[in-house]
Amino acid sequence: MCWFIQTFKSSLGKKYIMAITGFLLGGFLLVHALGNSSVFWGGEAFNSYAHHLHSMGPLVPLFEICLLAVFCLHIITAGYLFFENRAARGSQYAVQTSAGGRTWGSKTMPYTGIIILLFILLHLVNFHFPEKTVEKPISVFVVEVLHGPQALLYLIGLAALLLHISHGFWSLLQTLGISHPKYDQPLRVLAWILAGFMGAVFILVTLLVLFCKSYLAI
């Protein structure tokens, strides 16, 4: 068998796929969080950020296709791992306790993943597919969606995301073998801080628009 296929078909190989795609998605998430933080400087700042992003021409669809490919690879591999692991567990224990290793994040990875997938689909329907014009810029869409009951769905989706990356960021380092007694604990803390920062930005943006509609007025 070709060494490349053999490597990525193995249990460790599949974990490498999860780690590398997870890293790329994490990178996208960081840029997305930084971009969204322009909301804090008002509607005009936010619209001009969106405008600048879309003036990159053919780079935008190219980036979107790459992102879609990474997403699909992450989701398909995750599905494969979920069913494989469930079968490998065999029978369940009558008494189920944690010895202290599992966290809420690690325990719920497949389930938070599904919630995030549904949330992303909703997010795309809300903001990606509708036509944005000079009369109706992105900030108007944001107010329409988040200043209403849908904000609750966003908060649920973001909570799932926060839980997912609270395990995911450290886990991807461990999977790629990035561990050393000197900086394993600092890296774990850093991964939590990064996850917390991103979660905080997204959740604050949602709460800001939910409770203070005028903040995004142009």
């Binding site: 249990s11 460790l12 490498y16 494989e84 692991n85 073998g177 990035i178 050393h180 007694p181």
Partner: protein, 254 residues
């Protein structure tokens, strides 16, 4: 400390053979000395059962000193019981209280099938070792001492990994049923030393592929294994295995 006796209720997984349905059965035990080891308590129970003409409970044990890796069961949901870094044979009844219910189940993982009651077949772990967990040494006259230099701290680290007794508790505790800590330790103990470096690439690949063949799952970095390992082996050994396999897959030239 004065010894005392306790009365407990044990619920034990009874299963007559590999392919039959098993279930938990209850056995009340009276006057169990807290100085007894867990397995001595099991011996007392088996004597009671034999006297009554019932089938005794099948369980594995050998050295009863915590070094052979033969014993092991899941006690109240934790592999090797509640005491950290302790094998089942070294666990004592003073860890339990009067009136406690103690649920004893076999290690569960698809790769470690149940033979009978609490006995599981761990030969999958042997086959993983056979796939690459060794060093090839040419026989001949003995070498001079210190011809291969090993720094003390490296020797210590290799020895920490070599403490693995291959009991399979890591696979039993793993939500995905994978003995990744075992594999990490077995790869690390050799990869760290000059004698093991020669075959490190082949070893990492062969052992991982064998583990997959045995029907184990995929590591999810849940860290349950680290918390039940009777020898206190750390998941930094799994990270080393991850590095070794990645490096080996992309650079091996045969």
């Amino acid at each position: 400390m004065a010894s005392k006796t306790i009365n407990i209720l044990v619920k034990i997984w009874r299963q007559n053979g590999p392919y039959v349905q098993g279930c938990l059965e209850e056995y009340p035990l009276r006057d169990i000395s807290t100085d007894m080891s867990f397995l001595e308590m099991m011996d007392v129970l088996n004597e009671n059962l034999t006297r009554k003409g019932q089938e005794p409970i099948a369980f594995d044990s050998d050295c009863r000193e915590g070094i052979c890796g033969m014993c092991g069961a899941v006690v109240n949901g934790t592999a090797h019981g509640p005491q950290k870094e302790t094998t089942l044979c070294q666990l004592h009844m003073r860890q339990f209280h009067d009136g406690d219910t103690v649920v004893i189940e076999p290690f569960r993982s698809r790769g470690l099938p149940i033979v009978k009651d609490l006995v599981v077949d761990r030969s999958a772990l042997d086959r993983i070792i056979q796939a690459g967990g060794y060093v090839s040494v040419n026989t001949g006259s003995p070498k001079d001492a210190n011809t291969i230099l090993v720094p003390q701290h490296v020797a210590e680290k290799a020895m920490d990994a070599a403490a693995c007794i291959g009991c399979g508790a890591c696979a039993a505790a793993c939500p995905n049923g994978v003995p990744m800590l075992f594999l990490g330790a077995k790869v690390s103990q050799l990869a760290l030393l000059p004698q093991g470096k020669l075959e490190s690439k082949k070893r990492a690949i062969e052992m991982v592929l064998q583990m997959d063949k045995e029907g184990f799952g995929n590591c999810g970095n849940e860290r349950e294994c680290e918390n039940v390992c009777p020898k206190g082996i750390k998941i930094s050994n799994i990270a080393r295995l991850n590095r070794e396999f990645l490096k080996a897959s992309f650079t091996i030239d045969h």
